[in-house]
């Protein structure tokens, strides 16, 4: 597997050579040709713990559900410091909040937004999400086809995000462009340009909400208190920017993956529609199983102390990465893991990671995706991928097709 390996990277001496398997997750040609086939292959054929070096350096890779939960839940051994591979200006460093904050402080940041993102908090968005979904469907339904990512997969979560943050809907297309530019650019310049624009906009939004509070997320962050003091500008910035990155690409990648499968599997689509009609409550289990099949991202940590797992000796300072999509294919947790089975016994999926840093947006994501499915399938029950389409994946930390031309 040809992967660009950072030439200066030195594999630590304690890593046994037979466990070094450079798989190039998010970047190798094999990965990019079909990422989910790749995740399946890892889950089925690779050692549960191995070491891999790529353009971001080297890390232990965990493939088992159990080990991922250990990494996610055991803050005594696994730290979030340095676990987020996002480039930052060393002259003007900031922390992504709350992902880069360890307990006990991280809980204080999360508490500021708990009421908004709790299951009850998010439920209040049901009608808004349905309306947004239907507005988007209105624009394409009579056209016999669309490019799904731009027609629905991207704008739906972005619109909801804007609403939650207290930002104007008029910014929707700009936000989509920025999110795509930041996370899917093929050039450093493209990424840097998007980043600069996002930064400027966020700073301006923070200033605006500082002066004019409301009950939306940016204002709550800006006016939020930690240990009795107000958050400073850098903290607010790190929190808002992290929500931007975490909240946009992930949901749209997930939806793009799901609709690709739906487009290619008419029988299963019809099954979902039948269930939706006869037992609407089934949509929760359906959403959950589809989330299990198409986890879109990974979770990383740095070891604080030496640790031996499954006979593998890892040392303090080593980086660890849990391959969450492969962990969701762990046959010890989900028998016959590659089958999309809506009647499975419910078990904790890793698509939203886990532990104290588990995704704050999980309930929102589930709701958006479930409603996105319900409203689309009601109105456009039959669709397929446009013939001749080559599904393309780009390197990056979130996995999904770049474009999805559909027709009906």
């Amino acid at each position: 597997m040809a992967t660009q390996v950072r030439e200066t990277f030195q594999i630590p001496d304690h890593v046994p050579p037979e466990l070094v398997i450079n798989v190039g997750i998010t970047e190798s040609p094999e990965f990019l040709a079909d990422p989910y086939a790749f995740f399946r292959k890892l889950a089925e054929t690779h050692p549960p713990i191995f070491y891999s070096v790529g353009s971001h350096g080297g890390a232990w890779h965990f493939l088992k559900h159990d080990d991922a939960f250990r990494m996610l839940r055991d803050a005594e051994y696994f730290s979030n410091e340095g676990g987020t591979p996002f480039p930052r200006d060393p002259a003007d460093p900031f922390k992504f909040i709350p992902i880069e904050i360890d307990p006990p402080d991280h809980r204080k940041y999360r508490a500021i937004l708990d009421p908004v993102f709790s299951p009850q908090g998010i439920q209040t968005l049901d009608a808004t999400i349905r309306k947004l979904a239907n507005d988007l469907i209105d624009e394409v339904i009579d056209k016999g086809g669309c490019e799904f990512t731009t027609a629905y997969g991207r704008p739906l979560p972005v619109s909801i995000f804007l609403d939650l943050m207290g930002l104007p809907q008029a910014m929707r297309d700009t936000f989509v462009d920025w999110a795509v530019g930041l996370l899917h650019s093929t050039t450093r310049e493209g990424m840097a340009s998007a980043f600069a624009q996002i930064v400027a906009y966020i700073k301006q939004a923070i200033a605006e909400k500082t002066a004019n509070p409301d009950d939306k997320v940016i204002s709550r962050i800006v006016h939020g208190e930690i240990d009795g003091r107000q958050m400073d500008e850098k903290e607010s910035f790190g929190f808002v920017l992290f929500l931007f990155i975490a909240g946009l690409d992930t949901v749209f990648a997930t939806m793009n993956n799901m609709w690709l499968w739906l487009a290619e599997n008419p029988d299963r689509r019809h099954e979902i529609i039948a269930r939706m009609t006869e037992r609407p409550g089934d949509m929760n289990a359906i959403t959950e199983e589809m989330l299990r099949m198409w986890a879109v991202t990974f979770s990383g940590r740095t070891l604080r102390k030496d640790l031996e797992l499954r006979g593998v000796r890892m040392k303090a300072g080593d980086k660890v990465m849990s391959v969450l999509p492969s962990c969701n294919y762990d046959a010890e947790v989900w028998p016959n893991p590659l089958a999309v089975d809506f009647d499975r016994v419910r078990r904790p999926i890793l698509s939203f990671a886990g532990g104290v840093h588990s995704c704050m947006g999980a309930h929102l994501a589930r709701l958006e995706i479930r409603i996105g499915l319900e409203e689309w399938l009601k109105r456009i029950p039959d669709f397929s991928v446009k013939p001749g389409t080559q599904i393309e994946y780009r390197p990056g930390g979130v996995v999904g097709p770049e474009y999805l031309p559909l027709e009906w």
Binding site: V345, I349, S358, A362
Partner: protein, 107 residues
């Protein structure tokens, strides 16, 4: 204001106010009571808000949903007939005085 008593695994009892409509998981989290984690925030996705409802109260709770029963199988501590996921227990007047025992561990 209704109250809930959380009995830690070692026997220590903490009684706190939990408003009507709030769930028993958050009653613990917001009052700094150890022994309930609630990592998924109440979404029936983690089984780390496991508790044992004391017998006198069991009959006053709504039956668990199928999703809760299934997710309980993932609880780290022994699942007993009176096991519940505390995020699914919403406070009502009738539950004022509820007592729940906390398990040895949540993971």
């Amino acid at each position: 204001m209704p109250q809930v008593t959380y009995v830690a695994h070692g026997g220590d009892r903490h009684t706190v106010d939990v408003p009507i409509g709030e769930n028993v998981m958050r009653g613990a989290l917001y009052n700094g009571i150890d022994g309930i984690v609630g990592e998924c925030g109440g979404g029936l996705a983690c089984a780390t808000c496991h508790c044992y409802v004391e017998d006198a109260w069991a009959g006053r709770l709504d039956a668990p949903s199928e999703a809760e029963v299934q997710m309980l199988e993932s609880a780290a501590s022994e699942v007993k007939p009176n096991s519940r996921l505390s995020c699914q227990i919403a406070m009502t007047e009738a539950l004022d005085g509820l007592v729940v025992d906390l398990p040895e561990r949540q993971y």
